[in-house]
């Protein structure tokens, strides 16, 4: 069994009002020096067997099909060691 991580983020050009709200809240809580915050999603996909190239290709297909909407989001796929 292996765990594959899919991170999904809004594309840089897409407005992220949730991230903005978080960025505005941080100074109020005493955290300084934050220039920007973008909020995204992390999926932990547990697969049967090895995380070989074929398995990763399959996870990439999952991400393109369902986990991300590639019209507005980018995704990355990596194996958790």
């Amino acid at each position: 069994m292996a765990r594959v991580i899919v991170d999904v983020m809004l594309k840089p050009e897409i407005l992220d009002p949730q991230g903005q709200a978080i960025a505005r809240a941080l100074p109020r809580l005493g955290f300084s020096g934050v220039r920007d915050v973008r909020q995204g999603k992390r999926f932990e996909v547990e697969i049967e067997g090895e995380a070989d190239e074929a398995a990763l290709a399959e996870v990439r297909k999952m991400a393109e099909t369902l986990l991300a909407n590639t019209v507005i989001e980018d995704f990355t796929v990596r194996v958790e060691r």
């Binding site: 809004l10 050009e13 897409i14 407005l15 992220d16 009002p17 949730q18 709200a21 369902l66 986990l67 909407n69 019209v71 507005i72």
Partner: protein
């Protein structure tokens, strides 16, 4: 002559299907309930995808619904010309299914907006807008948290250049939609999606801001009867 048959789809979490069915009946058509788990469009002449929170808006609004068995039937039928109207969550589903370009994202101000909204009809050449005048301003309820229409610059230019922006917000943009876009259509004009709710504005009795929503239903009926 048999009445035109307009399918109204229900997903788990759909809210507006009863209002949509009522609006269809008020216009003189037969409302045919369509169930998300069926591979069956029941031979309807047009389909209304109503609003709500299908599948609890899990993952993204419309992302799960788009893969339901009913959508397996609806997507090719719509591509082949079946008239389809999606409002609110229905519009989100149409975008997730790539039947319409772009996407609906979180409202700019983060607030869920529920209000009466002015909308200008920009194109009366679609299956669902023929009974309006181009340039006509109507009032419909909006109620959504994820209605900010976005698309890349090329798509936006193509929509604008080919008259595929069907509705634009007037009197204030409720959600930060690019170019004040409230609704769009596909190239053929049979598929229309918009965030406002025509099905909630068909009867004075219910306190709707107008009965402007009737035009959507009379438009499609006239088209089906003349077909």
């Amino acid at each position: 002559m048999n009445a035109a048959r307009v399918g109204v789809v229900t997903f788990p979490g759909t809210l507006d299907d009863q209002d949509a069915a009522r609006a269809v009946r008020l216009a003189g058509a037969e409302a045919v309930p369509l169930w998300h788990a069926d591979h069956d469009l029941k031979g309807v002449d047009a389909v209304f995808l109503p609003g709500g929170f299908s599948y609890g808006d899990y993952l993204r609004c419309g992302a799960i619904s788009r893969f339901s068995p009913l959508m397996d039937e609806l997507i090719p039928a719509a591509r082949a010309g079946l008239p389809v109207l999606g409002t609110c969550n229905g519009f989100q589903i149409l975008c997730e299914a790539h039947l319409l370009p772009g996407a609906l994202t979180r409202n700019e101000g983060l607030h869920y907006i529920c209000r009466d909204q002015g909308i200008r009809v920009e194109n009366n050449g679609t299956a669902w807008t023929a009974d309006f005048e181009t340039g006509q301003e109507i009032t419909l309820p909006v109620k959504h948290g994820e209605g900010r229409y976005v698309a890349d610059a090329d798509t936006l230019a193509e929509l604008e250049g080919s008259g595929r922006v069907v509705f634009r917000y007037v009197g204030g943009n409720p959600n930060g939609s690019l170019n004040d876009i409230a609704g769009i259509t596909n190239e053929a004009g049979n598929i229309v999606g918009l965030m406002p709710h025509p099905e909630h504005a068909v009867e004075e009795l219910t306190g709707a801001p107008s009965v402007d929503g009737r035009g959507f239903f009379t438009s499609i009926l006239r088209k089906l009867v003349n077909a």
